[in-house]
């Protein structure tokens, strides 16, 4: 039963994530955190982080990670197959149609309207990740409950990303190192 659930969840993720990479993130969060509770928001953020510093698409990485955690290796396989199955079918059909008719207008028209929605959904998922980073799993957002060190690290990272062309992987590693440094210092003091 759990295999079927994993399969269907990742099938949806594979079927409705348009625009690659981050587009899958809100869908994964919806299925894995909100609907099924397979991961906590912190674990989900860890997963996104790990996906960022390793090769491979976020959706495939998530399928492996979540599948393994919930139902071992078979779970990972089932989830991965679920997440790539829609691609296999849809892309093959489109490739066949394209090789025959050489026309992609309709598809790209649909995509044009999806793009703004995808950006909005990525932003929404990003906000949840930041909320979790700044305020932990606390229900309410308050000034006193804010982890200011995280806000500071976030600010530095945004600056680094926008002002320098530093690779995002290094920015994230740096963020981790900064946090270790801050915690070590506050522990000593």
């Amino acid at each position: 039963m759990i295999y079927l659930q994993l399969f269907l969840s990742f099938l949806q993720i594979g079927m409705f994530s348009f625009g690659g990479g981050y587009a899958a993130m809100p869908l994964i969060q919806g299925q894995v955190v909100t609907t099924h509770g397979w991961l906590t928001m912190s674990e989900f953020t860890d997963l996104i982080t790990i996906s960022q510093i390793t090769p491979g698409p976020i959706a495939v990485n998530s399928a492996t990670f979540v599948g393994l955690k919930i139902a071992g290796i078979p779970g990972a396989v089932v989830a991965t197959v679920g997440c790539i199955l829609p691609s296999c079918i849809i892309v093959t059909i489109l490739a066949r149609l394209y090789l025959k008719y050489r026309n992609l207008d309709l598809l790209q028209g649909v995509l044009k309207s999806l793009r703004p929605a995808v950006v909005a959904m990525i932003a929404s998922a990003g906000i949840l990740i930041l909320k979790n980073a700044f305020w932990g799993s606390a229900e309410s957002i308050s000034l006193t409950g804010t982890e200011w060190s995280m806000v500071l690290i976030f600010g530095i990272c945004v600056l680094l990303l926008r002002k320098t062309k530093l690779n995002p992987i290094w920015v994230m590693v740096l963020a981790g190192v900064m946090k270790v440094g801050i915690s070590a210092m506050t522990n000593v003091l």
Binding site: I48, A120, G176, V177
Partner: protein, 194 residues
């Protein structure tokens, strides 16, 4: 005789597709767009298996289909070269490296997550990944805002409210916006057709 030779060379090409996609998938950081560019380098510039223009269209298919772009890219290239077997081999090559790497990492994750340094490192990286997403959102959103197409802005705002405030399942948002796009495209086609 000829068919046997053909079979042999087909096997060789399958093997080459597998190795190329395996290699690209294992060593490409930075997501689907990067890997698609590298695929073009490999299959168009190096092997000359696919024409430049055709590759551009195949990449467009990969990018406009749902799912991971790296996987979609592997499917179009594999399918174009050797049909379904080519596509299957390319998929296998593409998903094997992340599967193995993530499996190994999740074992370590369970062992080391409670370690103080690892926990702090991961927690700091949450702020980092938040920054990366903010930056990506800006890069993706700014051109749409600059275009000043009112419909796009309405879709963006509506989708944001639906996802963030109303917490509507994103699947529905994708379906609704896709349908809006379909209707718009068909309408504008009819208009230009007259």
């Amino acid at each position: 005789m000829e068919s046997r030779e053909e079979k042999e060379s087909q096997g060789k090409i399958l093997w080459k597709i597998f190795l190329s996609t395996l290699y690209l998938s294992a060593f490409t950081f930075g997501g689907g767009y990067v890997i698609v560019t590298l695929m073009k380098k490999k299959f168009v510039d190096e092997y000359h298996w696919i024409g430049e223009d055709e590759m551009l269209d195949l990449v467009a298919i990969a990018q406009s289909s749902p799912g991971a772009i790296a996987v979609n890219g592997a499917i179009v290239v594999g399918y174009k070269l050797l049909g379904i077997p080519g596509a299957l081999v390319a998929i296998l090559g593409t998903i094997l490296p992340p599967f193995v790497i993530i499996a190994a990492i999740s074992v370590c994750y369970n062992v080391f997550r409670s370690n103080f340094f690892v926990a702090q490192m991961l927690s700091g990286m949450q702020a980092g990944v938040g920054a990366v997403i903010a930056s990506v959102t800006y890069d993706m959103g700014a051109p749409i805002v600059k275009e000043k197409d009112p419909m796009s802005l309405v879709i963006m705002l509506g989708a944001f409210l639906a996802a963030c405030i109303l917490e509507i399942n994103v699947v529905y948002i994708v379906i609704v916006c896709g349908l809006i796009g379909l209707v718009r495209t068909l309408l504008s086609k009819r208009r230009s057709g007259k």
